[in-house]
């Protein structure tokens, strides 16, 4: 790093500023930790990945979806499943990953609670990009092309920080809805 052109004549020295040692050492240790983390997480490193491994669990198995009933978007079927444009999207997404969908119905608050406890993998309903639940749950981008959304920017909720799931879900919705 270029230092100032100082005519330093020694004298009393104050502790070095942020431009010197300690900062660099800390960065180096951060990078070291990061590399160690990469090694620990093995070769199957995908970026972004899920801290709680949601996507790995869903792949070829079961997608646990929660729904908050909203007429014209997602409704409860007689057989305990769900129907409606949002339900169709979830089913199609699961199918892409060779998974069966297991539906849970409840209020938005219950669904968010389920997401926080990792009892479900995603939640759908009338939630939009302005949802107040975005503090407790991760949200996808808003999609106004969902049939029956009437111009609202519909989002799906996922557990906080499950970034691979968000990535897969948004990639799917981008393909499906554009």
């Amino acid at each position: 790093m270029a230092l100032a052109t100082q005519r330093s004549t020694g004298g009393s020295r104050r502790p070095p500023t942020r431009g010197n040692g300690p900062g660099r050492r800390r960065i180096a240790s951060l990078i070291g930790m990061l590399l160690a983390g990469m090694l620990l997480s093995g070769c199957g490193l995908s970026i972004p990945s899920d801290p709680n491994g949601t996507m790995d669990r869903v792949e070829g198995a079961v997608l646990r979806a929660g729904a908050s009933v909203e007429e014209g978007l997602v409704e409860k079927a007689a057989d305990g499943g769900a129907f409606g444009p949002l339900a169709d999207l979830v089913e199609a997404f699961a199918e892409e990953h060779g998974a069966e969908v297991e539906w849970t119905f409840g209020s938005e608050e219950s669904l968010v609670e389920h997401l926080e406890q990792h009892r479900i993998d995603l939640a759908v309903g009338g939630m939009t990009a302005d949802t107040p639940w975005s503090q407790m749950a991760g949200t996808t981008r808003g999609y106004d092309e969902v049939p029956g959304a009437e111009g609202r920017e519909i989002v799906m909720l996922v557990p906080l920080g499950e970034n691979e799931l968000v990535y897969e879900l948004e990639s799917f919705l981008d393909r499906e809805l554009s």
Partner: protein, 322 residues
Amino acid sequence: MRNVGRTDLPAEQRTALTKAIRWEWATIAYTLFTISLVALVLGNSQAMKTAWIEDMLSLIPQVSFLVALLFIRRKPTRSFPFGKHRAMTIGHLVAGVALLAVGGNLAVEAAIGLISGEHPTIGTLQLFGQTIWLGWLMVGVMLLIVIGPLIYGPAKLRLAPKLHNKLLFADADMARADWHTNAASIVGVLGVGIGLWWLDGAAAIFISIGIVLDGVRNTRFAIRDLMDERARTHDDKRTHPLVNAVLAEMLRQPWVRDAGVRMRDQGQVFHTEIFFVPTRRRPPRTETLHAAAERIAALDWKLQDISLIPVGRLPDEATRLE
């Protein structure tokens, strides 16, 4: 008692000042550009948010510098007999306090997020029909904007000592360390990418601690200057060599038996009181004193305001030749 003052700057300082002003305007323009660029890819990363706010904070010293310049050019008046040079130090203080307050706030916010185990959710963005993870864009933006400070930091650092401007020095010094912030936020985002959710918060804490330390340092130096600490070098590392230079010049006069100095930094220029014990019982004539003051003022452009005070005994707090 005589006052010798110069309100004009010598050629070297004039060009340095013109360059400094140009760099500051360029920096402000660049920073506004980076602030809007980062805003586009902010997402839910605490590290990115912290870096973003640090970017905004970095505008304060630059704006303060330009505003203070409007004041320090004014000649002293009856109501402001020492001129308005202190504006520069006040700008320094404002910048320091802002860094301290906001940095502390960000550190607490990051710590709370880390303790409560908030997993940052970083989604995607659709660009040209491609779904791209926002993290890659964050890393890209951070790599892109690291370039600026590496250019203007050292440039301002070269100008600061010429102008003896502590605000400019602080600004340059922070710019020089700015890449730490970019590196830390990249580490944080990539950490989130590989599933280490806590790295984002850790990076945010690292960045905010840097902001707080900058704040502490600048606030301390600015306050010391405002409390009329003996003049120090532009980087506040040691007592300014002019203290000794003035004393040496004074002691060379045949009519001086002993001399002591009180020199304070008014921001860019110094206010100097020279106490001397005359050799004979009668103090020298005003012409002699005036010539001596002129000679001392000629030592350095910063010596704008010099008072010669004949005394029977030097005051204890006056600095003697070391």
